[in-house]
C-alpha cells in the first residue's frame, strides 16, 4: 500500500518536472516581452531595461528556470509580473470561484445524467430513451457559452431570479454567492450531462446484456435488485472514468462561461496572464492544472479498487 502511494507520488513529481520544463521553454519561444506590455508603447529602452532587471528577466534561461523550481520546492510560486501580488494568492482567490463552480456543475451533471441514462437504458427505444437521445445530441452540439447567454437572456433578464453575471464574493453571504454560480453551473453542466448520459446509457445496456445479469434474473432477482446490485456497480467504472476527465476539463476549461458570466475564475486568470505574457503566472497555472489532472486520475484509480473488488487482489 505504501509502496503503491510512493510510486504514484514519484510519478506525479516526474510528470510535473517534465511539464514545467516544457511550459518554461514554450513560453520563452512565444514572441512578446512582458516588460513592454507592462510599460506600453511610450517606454524608453532604459525604462524597459530597469523593469526587466526588476522582474529578473535579464538572467540566463537556466538561472530563471532553476530559481523558479527552487521557489516551488519551498512553496513560493513567485510574484505576478503584472499584478505585483504573489501568484499563490492569485490562484487561491480564483479557486474560491472555480472549485465551487466545478463542484456545482459536476453535481448537476450527475443529477441529470445518471437517472436519465439509467431510465433510458432500462427501456431502450422507449419515450425516455428517445428524449435522452435528443438531449444528448443537442447538449453536445450546443456550446456551453451559448447556453450561458440564453440563460442570461431568458432567465436572468426576463425573470430576475438570478444575477446576470458577476460574483459578489463569499463575504456577501452563502446564498448570494451561490446564486451567482447557479446559472453558470447549469451552462457548464448541460453539455457534460449530455455526454455522461450517453456513457451511462451505453454502460448500463452493455452490462445488462451480460450472462451474469441473465443468471441473476433467472434465479428470481427483481429488476430493481439486479439494477442496483449487479448492473450499476459494474457500469460505474466507465462512468467514473468519464467523470474524472470532465472534472479536469472543467477546472481549466470554463473560460468561455466565465467570460459570459463575468466570473473571476482560473480560466480567466490563465487567459489574461497569457495575453499579458505574465510568464510566471502562466507557468504556475499550467503546472497547477497538470497537478490537478494527475491527482484526479490518482483518485479515480483508487476508486476503481473500491468499485471493482477484482482489482484489490495483489498480483
Amino acid at each position: 500500500m505504501i509502496f503503491h502511494i510512493a510510486k504514484s507520488l514519484a510519478g506525479l513529481i516526474i510528470t510535473l518536472l517534465i511539464v514545467s520544463f516544457i511550459i518554461f521553454l514554450v513560453m520563452q519561444a512565444v514572441p512578446g516581452d512582458p516588460a513592454e506590455i507592462i510599460l506600453g508603447m511610450s517606454a524608453q529602452p532604459d525604462t524597459l531595461a530597469a523593469l526587466r532587471s526588476q522582474l529578473g528577466l535579464d538572467q540566463s534561461l537556466l538561472q530563471r528556470y532553476l530559481n523558479w523550481l527552487l521557489g516551488l520546492l519551498q512553496g513560493d510560486l513567485g510574484d505576478s509580473y503584472t499584478y505585483s501580488t504573489s501568484v499563490a494568492q492569485l490562484i487561491g482567490e480564483r479557486l474560491k470561484v472555480t472549485l465551487p463552480l466545478t463542484g456545482l456543475a459536476v453535481f448537476l451533471s450527475v443529477l441529470i445524467s445518471l437517472p436519465l441514462g439509467v431510465t433510458a437504458a432500462a427501456k431502450p427505444n422507449g419515450i425516455i430513451d428517445s428524449f435522452a437521445s435528443l438531449f444528448s445530441q443537442m447538449g453536445i452540439a450546443v456550446p456551453n457559452f451559448w447556453i450561458g447567454l440564453l440563460l442570461i437572456l431568458g432567465i436572468s433578464l426576463t425573470f430576475g431570479w438570478f444575477p446576470a453575471g458577476g460574483f459578489p464574493g463569499w463575504e456577501a453571504g452563502l446564498w448570494s454567492a451561490l446564486n451567482a454560480l447557479i446559472l453558470p453551473a447549469v451552462a457548464l453542466a448541460i453539455p457534460q450531462a449530455a455526454v455522461l448520459t450517453r456513457v451511462t446509457r451505453a454502460a448500463v445496456i452493455e452490462i445488462t446484456g451480460e450472462d451474469f445479469v441473465r443468471t441473476a434474473r433467472a434465479k428470481g432477482a427483481t429488476p430493481n435488485y439486479v439494477l442496483w446490485h449487479h448492473v450499476m456497480p459494474n457500469a460505474l467504472i466507465p462512468i467514473v472514468t468519464m467523470l474524472g476527465m470532465q472534472i479536469s476539463i472543467l477546472i481549466a476549461g470554463a473560460i468561455l462561461v466565465e467570460n459570459v458570466f463575468n466570473l473571476p475564475g482560473m480560466g480567466k486568470l490563465a487567459y489574461q496572464a497569457l495575453a499579458q505574457r505574465d510568464l510566471i503566472v502562466i507557468q504556475d497555472v499550467v503546472l497547477f492544472f497538470a497537478a490537478i489532472v494527475i491527482i484526479i486520475n490518482f483518485f479515480v484509480d483508487a476508486l476503481y479498487t473500491v468499485l471493482d473488488p477484482r482489482l484489490r487482489i495483489r498480483r
Binding site: 512565444v30 514572441p31 512578446g32 516581452d33 513592454e36 506590455i37 507592462i38 510599460l39 506600453g40 508603447m41 511610450s42 517606454a43 524608453q44 532604459d46 525604462t47 530597469a50 523593469l51 532587471s53 526588476q54 503584472t82 499584478y83 505585483s84 501580488t85 492569485l90 482567490e93 480564483r94 447567454l149 442570461i152 437572456l153 436572468s156 433578464l157 430576475g160 444575477p163 446576470a164 453575471g165 458577476g166 460574483f167 464574493g169 467570460n259 459570459v260 458570466f261 463575468n262 473571476p264 475564475g265 480567466k268 486568470l269 489574461q272 495575453a275 499579458q276 505574457r277
Partner: protein
C-alpha cells in the same frame, strides 16, 4: 368573484406600499461602475496600461495640476505657478494643509521626491520621456517647488497633469500597486482581483467633498455581459461600452441616459514608410483617397466616431478638421497611383492586431482597395504581445492599424525610431518649435501647423477618433461626456433622485 376582487385589492395595495417606499427614498450615495479592462496594478507612475489611470486618476491620486473635462489645465496640488521668460524655470506655489491618505503631509519635499523618481536612471515610469527636459527639482520651502529645465517644453504643464505624474508619498511608494496612497477624495477599500474594486470617501480630503460615499468598479470584459449587467441593474454606469452595436437598445430605453462623446484615441493605419511602395508619398495619398472613412466608422462602431484628417482628436485643443485634404475619391486615387508608377496596383500585407475595431476596419479597407486594383492580404497579429514585437519593435510589416490613445501624441511622428519609420525634417522642426513657444496661442498654432503637414504627407492613414459610448442610469449626474485624458473622473458624480 368576491375572492378575485379581494386578490386584486391585496395585490394593488402591496404594490402601492412597495412603490411608496421607493418614492420617499433618499438619493443614493454609492455608485457601481463597469469597466471593460481591469488594471493590473494601481500605480500609474510604474506601469502604462490606461486602465490604471481610469480607476485612480483624480479619484485617488492627484497631481500638481489637473486636466478637466474640457481638456484644459487647472491648478490642483499647485495653487499657482509662474514660468520664466525663457521658459526654463517653473516656480510652483503649493497648496498647504494637504495630507495623503496615510496622514503624511504633502509638501514641496514630497513633490520633489515624486518628480526625481520619474527622472532617475532606473526609473520604470512609462512616460519618463515626457519629462526629460527637467534637469533639476528644488524644494525651496514646504510651499515652493522650482523646476529647472534644460530646454523649453511648452507642453510640460500638460504632461504634469497626466496620470504618470501624480504625487506619491515616499513611505507608501513600494506598495502603491496594490495599496495606493494618494491625496484624492477617495481611498481604496478593497480590490478583489479579477472581479471588482471599491473606493470609499476620504474623510480628510483637502478639497470639495464628493457627493458619493462609495464607488465600486466592476470589471466586465465581454460586451454582452456589460449590457446584461446594465439591464439587470448589477452596474449603474458603463462609461465606455465596448460594443457599439448594443447602444441602440439603450438609446430607446427611458431608464438610461446614452451619452456619446469623443476620446483622445485616434485609429490610424500606420504604413512602413521605409518600405516600397509606402516610401512614395503619392502612394500613401492615393490610398488615403481610396479610403471612405465614414464607411469604416459605420461598420466598426455603428456610425459613432469622428473622421479625422490628421493625428489629432477633436477632444484635444487645437484640433483642425483636415478630412478634406484627401477626401474619398477612388477615381483620383487610381490616377495618382498610376502617376506613382503602379497603374495596375500592387499587393501588400495588413497585419491587424486582434481587436474587433481593427479587424473590421481592415476588412472594409480591403474591399475599398480592391476597387482601385490594390490587393491587401490580411494577417492577424496577437495583441499586444506579438504585435508589439513584430510591428512596433521590429518594423516587420507593410501596413497595420491600431488606436493611439495618448492625448496630444502627434509628436510620435517626430520620434526616431518609431514604427512608422517616417522622417520629415520639416515636421521634426515644427514639433521642436512647439516646445519653445511661450504663449498658448503660439503653442496651438504650432500644433495646427504640424497637423497640416501630416495631413498632406499622410505617413499613416488617418481614419477616425474613437467614440466614448457612455450609458448610465437616469438620474446619475456629473459623468464626463468626453475623455480628453483616459480616465473615469467621478469626483463630481451624484444621483439627482
Amino acid at each position: 368573484m368576491i375572492r378575485l376582487f379581494r386578490y386584486i385589492l391585496t395585490t394593488t395595495v402591496a404594490i402601492g406600499l412597495l412603490t411608496i417606499n421607493g418614492v420617499n427614498a433618499q438619493p443614493r450615495n454609492d455608485l457601481v461602475l463597469g469597466m471593460s479592462v481591469e488594471p493590473t496594478g494601481l500605480d500609474p507612475t510604474a506601469a502604462a496600461p490606461v486602465a490604471i489611470g481610469q480607476v485612480v486618476w483624480q479619484n485617488l491620486f492627484e497631481g500638481l495640476v489637473a486636466i478637466n473635462k474640457a481638456g484644459e489645465i487647472e491648478p490642483q496640488l499647485a495653487e499657482s505657478w509662474t514660468i520664466s521668460e525663457d521658459g526654463l524655470t517653473y516656480n510652483f506655489t503649493l497648496r498647504s494643509g494637504v495630507t495623503f491618505q496615510n496622514n503624511q503631509k504633502f509638501t514641496a519635499e514630497t513633490a520633489k521626491y515624486t518628480i526625481d523618481r520619474i527622472l532617475e536612471n532606473d526609473s520604470i515610469n512609462p512616460q519618463k520621456s515626457l519629462y526629460k527636459s527637467i534637469s533639476s527639482v528644488k524644494a525651496v520651502n514646504p510651499k515652493t517647488l522650482i523646476l529647472t529645465l534644460s530646454s523649453p517644453s511648452a507642453d510640460l504643464l500638460y504632461w504634469l497633469g497626466f496620470p504618470a505624474a501624480v504625487m506619491i508619498e515616499p513611505t507608501s511608494e513600494a506598495t502603491n500597486a496594490t495599496n495606493p496612497i494618494g491625496t484624492g477624495p477617495f481611498k481604496l477599500l478593497n480590490w478583489k482581483k479579477g472581479n471588482q474594486l471599491t473606493l470609499v470617501k476620504n474623510e480628510h480630503y483637502w478639497g470639495k467633498a464628493t457627493k458619493l460615499d462609495k464607488v465600486t468598479f466592476r470589471f466586465i470584459s465581454d460586451p454582452q455581459a456589460q449590457a446584461a449587467a446594465l439591464n439587470s441593474g448589477d452596474i449603474d454606469a458603463m462609461p465606455e461600452l465596448s460594443a457599439p452595436e448594443l447602444v441602440s437598445q439603450f438609446k430607446h430605453n427611458q431608464a438610461f441616459d446614452t451619452v456619446i462623446g469623443t476620446t483622445s484615441m485616434e485609429v490610424v493605419a500606420g504604413m512602413n514608410n521605409a518600405k516600397k511602395p509606402f516610401n512614395d508619398a503619392r502612394v500613401r495619398q492615393a490610398l488615403m483617397m481610396a479610403t471612405d472613412r465614414q464607411a469604416i466608422i459605420d461598420a466598426t462602431s455603428e456610425g459613432l466616431g469622428t473622421p479625422i484628417g490628421s493625428h489629432f482628436s477633436p477632444s484635444d485643443t487645437g484640433y483642425e478638421d483636415l478630412t478634406n485634404i484627401w477626401p474619398y475619391d477612388p477615381v483620383k486615387a487610381k490616377k495618382l497611383l498610376a502617376e506613382a508608377g503602379y497603374p495596375n496596383g500592387f499587393t501588400f500585407t495588413m497585419k491587424m492586431p486582434t481587436r474587433t475595431y481593427a479587424e473590421r476596419a481592415a476588412e472594409i479597407m480591403q474591399a475599398y482597395y480592391a476597387m482601385i486594383g490594390v490587393t491587401m492580404i490580411l494577417e492577424s497579429s496577437e495583441f499586444p504581445a506579438k504585435w508589439v514585437q513584430d510591428v512596433f519593435k521590429d518594423s516587420n510589416y507593410d501596413m497595420t492599424i491600431v488606436g493611439h490613445a495618448e492625448p496630444l501624441d502627434i509628436s510620435i511622428y517626430a520620434r526616431h525610431p518609431y514604427y512608422f519609420n517616417y522622417h520629415n525634417p520639416k515636421f521634426d522642426k515644427t514639433i521642436a518649435e512647439i516646445s519653445n513657444t511661450t504663449t498658448e496661442v503660439e503653442r496651438i498654432a504650432g500644433y495646427k501647423k504640424s497637423q497640416e503637414i501630416l495631413a498632406q504627407d499622410v505617413p499613416a492613414l488617418f481614419l477616425y477618433a474613437f467614440p466614448k459610448i457612455g450609458v448610465w442610469k437616469k438620474g446619475l449626474q456629473g459623468m464626463w461626456k468626453n475623455q480628453p485624458v483616459p480616465s473615469n473622473d467621478i469626483t463630481d458624480a451624484f444621483w439627482s433622485e
